[in-house]
């Protein structure tokens, strides 16, 4: 495995500007040559296939419509190691789960461009009669075969491939007929890689975004999406939104017009609603400022991304609440988990059950909104005061260029991600849950949060330390990692 961007990537000067046409064309040729199935990619044929899809199978269109109608769509995750298993899974999620958006999660070898290993995983899975891979090896199957997945369902499909190396998977996925693709340079490089440089990660997604613009130029709207959940581990809204803004600026720079933003749930009804509203507004604020006036940026809420409880009943409550939170917050879609989350990849049945429970929760939430709640306003305002100083600093240090600023800001720790596996990320910023159940910043590392903002966070966290009778310190962060996975007996022992 080589995490680095290919040599030719270095050929175009690194910035937030669009990749020049000729550089892109050369890169694309080299990219498609990396694995035999790359040769199956025929853009004109792919355009035709996309044109033949009804609009309800196009994720960009479906997201726009949901937003206009105030709906909250449901989407699970899911990928198995063989075509047969994946076909069955997607059919089940579509029909039994009533998923509005059907996913294909790729396996970790594919994500890491270890396609030979993925190939072996297919064989092992077939031999074992169960999936030995944690996702669908799309590149190994190639676009033609993979297209059978698209044909098997009557919904839009999205590629979920948590990696900083999306270039070949992106080509294959779009050519196969997927109309959505999750992943972004900043978010995934900081949360899914260890040695890859931030610059290389950004470049890789610039390629994917540029490819999306090529489809766009042919009249095909594709939905790109940013995974603001990062390491999924107590990410406070402000940090997620900073990455949403930066990745959105980079995507828009390449010509992307449909760019979804994902936020992991904090599990606090008011903080989540405030975060989702703030995210959409702040992303638009910076896009407009950069001259991108026509990028559609719906927000997706994600079921709890941290450690799940092991008890089925507790997990069921978390699933359902995830629907409530997304709906009340006005998210355009919600990405679901299941009661199996703490144990392993869910069975198709468990996955469909999670989808249905979430859907019912959305129904039950009716159209209730909290926008007029004073606490909501206050929290939203706070998020703005947290986000702007960081993003402004990134742009400043990059002399106005979001790409260059990001690389420099990560180096300097001005941009930091909690619990990151990437060695180039300081990972000194440390979040924890406060006494009210909101995620706050315990230690800011070198992130330039304003003093008054940090004072608010500290005060709330000190209240929690006092209530729980623990020291104000790192243990707050560690216990916050475990919290939601604790047993009910621990969380809420019987009264008396």
């Amino acid at each position: 495995m080589s995490g680095a961007a290919p040599a030719e990537a270095a050929r175009w000067p690194f910035s937030a500007a669009p990749i020049p046409d000729d550089a892109f064309a050369a890169m694309q040729r080299a990219n498609l040559a990396r694995w035999p199935t790359g040769a199956e990619v025929d853009l004109e044929e792919a355009f035709d296939f996309h044109r033949s899809l009804p609009s309800h199978k196009n994720l960009a269109a479906v997201m726009r419509r949901a937003d206009a109608e105030g709906r909250c769509l449901t989407q699970p995750r899911g990928g198995f190691g063989t075509l047969e298993l994946q076909l069955a899974l997607m059919r089940q999620l579509d029909r039994e789960g009533l998923a509005d958006i059907v996913p294909t999660t790729t396996d970790s070898y594919t994500r890491n461009e270890q396609w030979d290993r993925a190939e072996a995983g297919i064989a092992e899975s077939e031999a074992a009669g169960r999936s030995m891979l944690n996702g669908f090896p799309m590149v190994c199957y190639g676009p033609k075969t993979t297209r059978r997945l698209i044909e098997a369902i009557d919904k839009p499909a999205i590629v979920l491939s948590g990696t900083s190396m999306p270039r070949l998977t992106g080509e294959i996925g779009f050519a196969a007929g997927f109309t959505g693709y999750l992943g972004s340079g900043l978010a995934y490089t900081t949360s899914y890689t260890k040695d890859l440089s931030i610059e290389d990660g950004l470049r890789n997604y610039q390629y994917l975004d540029r490819l999306t613009a090529v489809y766009q130029a042919a009249g095909i709207e594709l939905h790109r999406r940013q995974p603001g959940f990062l390491t999924g581990t107590n990410i406070p809204p402000c940090i997620a939104i900073v990455t949403c803004i930066i990745d959105a600026l980079l995507a828009a720079g390449q010509g992307v017009r449909n760019y979804g933003l994902e936020l992991g749930q904090t599990l606090h009804l008011v903080q989540d609603a405030a975060a989702i509203h703030a995210c959409r507004e702040l992303v638009q604020e910076y896009l407009q400022r950069a001259g991108h006036h026509d990028v559609f940026t719906p927000v997706t809420s994600l079921h709890w991304m941290g450690a799940w409880p092991y008890d089925d009943a507790q997990a069921a409550a978390l699933v359902a609440y995830g629907g409530t939170l997304a709906a009340v917050a006005g998210a355009v879609s919600v990405t679901t988990k299941s009661t199996h989350e703490a144990y392993g990849i869910p069975t198709p049945e468990a996955n469909a059950h999670g989808l249905r429970a979430t859907r019912m929760a959305i129904y039950l939430a009716r159209r209730i909104r909290l926008d007029t709640l004073p606490d909501f306003q206050q929290e939203k305002d706070l998020i703005g005061r947290e986000v702007r100083p960081i993003v402004d600093k990134v742009l400043e240090i990059g002399d106005g260029d979001a790409a260059i600023g990001t690389v420099r800001a990560c180096e300097a720790g001005l941009l930091d991600i909690p619990w990151s596996p990437n060695r180039q990320i300081k990972s000194r910023v440390l979040p924890a849950r406060d006494a009210d159940g909101c995620l706050r910043i315990l230690e800011p590392g070198d992130m330039p949060f304003p003093k008054d903002v940090l004072a608010v966070h500290e005060e709330q966290l000190r209240r929690r330390a006092e209530r729980d009778k623990v020291d104000f310190g790192r243990d707050l962060a560690v216990s916050s990692v475990y919290e939601i996975s604790e047993t009910l007996e621990t969380l809420m022992p019987p009264a008396g």
């Binding site: 396996d107 999936s131 030995m132 260890k194 390491t231 450690a307 092991y310």
Partner: protein, 139 residues
């Protein structure tokens, strides 16, 4: 020595485990996420490690961990204590069965999801004590 094997980036549990081991007085070499099996062996030789704490969360642990013990044997580290923990297999499977599979692969102990660090520290201390008395692991 701690690390997450294979292409797995789930670092949180392994990092918390490293923190807990350090607090318990062990000297910890943390290899971090996405660590190939060979790197564990290399680092074990370099640092003369007594025990290896392998995490695998992402579901491909069964593929990644095959032959892990053999690599150490080949390197002459027959005696090193090796634990494995996390979400070792794909999906929700019966734990005793999973444990059996990993012990058969040569791990000294395998830990299910929902393991807390106290438990690991306790087992590690017990095993080191048992070794002082010539046993492989404590019963």
């Amino acid at each position: 020595m701690t690390g997450v094997i294979g292409a797995d980036t789930h670092i949180v549990g392994n990092r918390i485990l490293s923190m807990a081991l350090e607090e318990a007085g062990f000297e910890v070499i943390a290899l971090g996420a996405i660590t190939p099996a060979e790197d564990f062996v290399k680092a074990a030789i370099e640092t003369d490690a007594d025990a290896v704490m392998v995490s695998s969360l992402y579901g491909q642990g069964e593929l990644d961990c095959r032959g892990f013990r053999d690599l150490f044997i080949e390197a002459g580290l027959d005696d090193i204590l090796i634990y494995v923990g996390g979400n070792l297999v794909v999906g929700k499977q019966d734990w005793p069965d999973v444990e059996r599979r990993f012990l058969a692969m040569g791990f000294d102990r395998a830990f299910p999801p929902n393991t807390r660090t106290d438990d690991v520290v306790e087992k590690l201390n017990a095993d080191f004590a048992a070794r002082a008395e010539g046993q492989r692991i404590a019963e």
